[in-house]
């Protein structure tokens, strides 16, 4: 069966619409997906960027909020353009959410949890670095909050997230969402359809 890897950082804005529409798009295309959390921070730092390019280049940041709002409206995905004070806290620290996602994605409710994280972050502007918020989202998706939070803090989970990030860098990833089929890289929510088509071609 054709397959692709979906690379996402819970703090990444454009990963939100990608996560929301991936399951339906992949099912329609007959493509299997592997959801793989990683962290953009170390990848940005390796390129000499101390924070998100949306902060370093304010014109690009201002455009991103408008573009994402149009995109989410077109897809009927709830999204609220943040006020200036909220933008000042962008991007959120996504370490805990990424570790929790690694654990959650072993369970049948893993995708639901990831989608809930993005919705909480960009529609409700809750702080995904807060264990209380993450615990609530785990429970809402159908998991045991205490057990998943404990597993999220385990050394093996931390190592898995580090390995994901190193693999992402080795594959040439520089942003999220990204999609890979073998070594072939597709960057951005806009490239999901092209990535699905490529996955089908490769498997044919």
């Amino acid at each position: 069966m054709p397959s692709l890897v979906f690379w996402f950082d819970p703090a990444s804005t454009y990963s939100y619409p990608a996560a929301m529409r991936l399951d339906a798009a992949a099912a329609a295309a007959g493509v299997e997906t592997v959801w793989r959390p990683f962290l953009l921070g170390p990848i940005f730092r390796e390129q000499g960027m101390a924070t998100s390019p949306f902060n370093l280049f304010p014109a690009r940041g201002r455009y991103m909020w408008r573009d994402l709002k149009r995109l989410c409206d077109d897809l009927a995905i709830p999204f609220v353009v943040p006020d200036a004070a909220t933008i000042a806290g962008f991007p959120r620290n996504s370490l805990l959410a990424a570790r929790a996602a690694i654990v959650a994605l072993r369970e049948p409710w893993g995708h639901d949890f990831v989608r809930a994280v993005y919705r909480a972050e960009f529609a409700d502007w809750r702080d995904i670095a807060d264990p209380g918020v993450i615990g609530e989202l785990i429970a809402g998706a159908g998991g045991n909050a205490a057990a998943v939070l404990a597993a999220a803090g385990a050394d093996a989970t931390k190592a898995e997230l580090r390995a994901n990030t190193e693999r992402a860098a080795a594959l040439g990833l520089f942003g999220a969402p990204s999609f890979t089929i073998g070594d072939e890289l597709f960057w951005g929510n806009d490239r999901l359809e092209q990535a699905l088509a490529h996955a089908r071609r490769v498997a044919a």
Copy 2:
């Protein structure tokens, strides 16, 4: 009639597919277009970037060539991935081509000239900073090379290009191609369809 402004820098890679498909897409959508050359260099410098982000962030640059190749292949637009020596000269100095475009766009063969510049640059890897190359492309599009090159060097043309670039910065442009309808900004070849739809909605 619905209308949009197409902002392009002759050195911009993703402006190539946009320029190649714009006339047909706009005609199909019933939208009038105004083609407006500007320079990205001053806008990048204002954001603290001494050169193209594709050079400053090599992973993004490497991806861009692969992505553009896939994109042009899908659109059946000739494109040749440059070798390392050619990439070292990227981006081309686009000052002369932008000034010549300002003059050419007053003529019925203006769009043909702009498309010829991009094709020469990214399919044939010729140097668009060379007046001999630009003169040849003017003549090929149906213009008088000597007259257009002279007008391209006139103070009024230089001032018009500077004014375009200042207006682009004021509108929040940070890359090319961009499309504007009033103050509404759409960035990237990927947003052409959305920009055309917006132009129609605004005019309705």
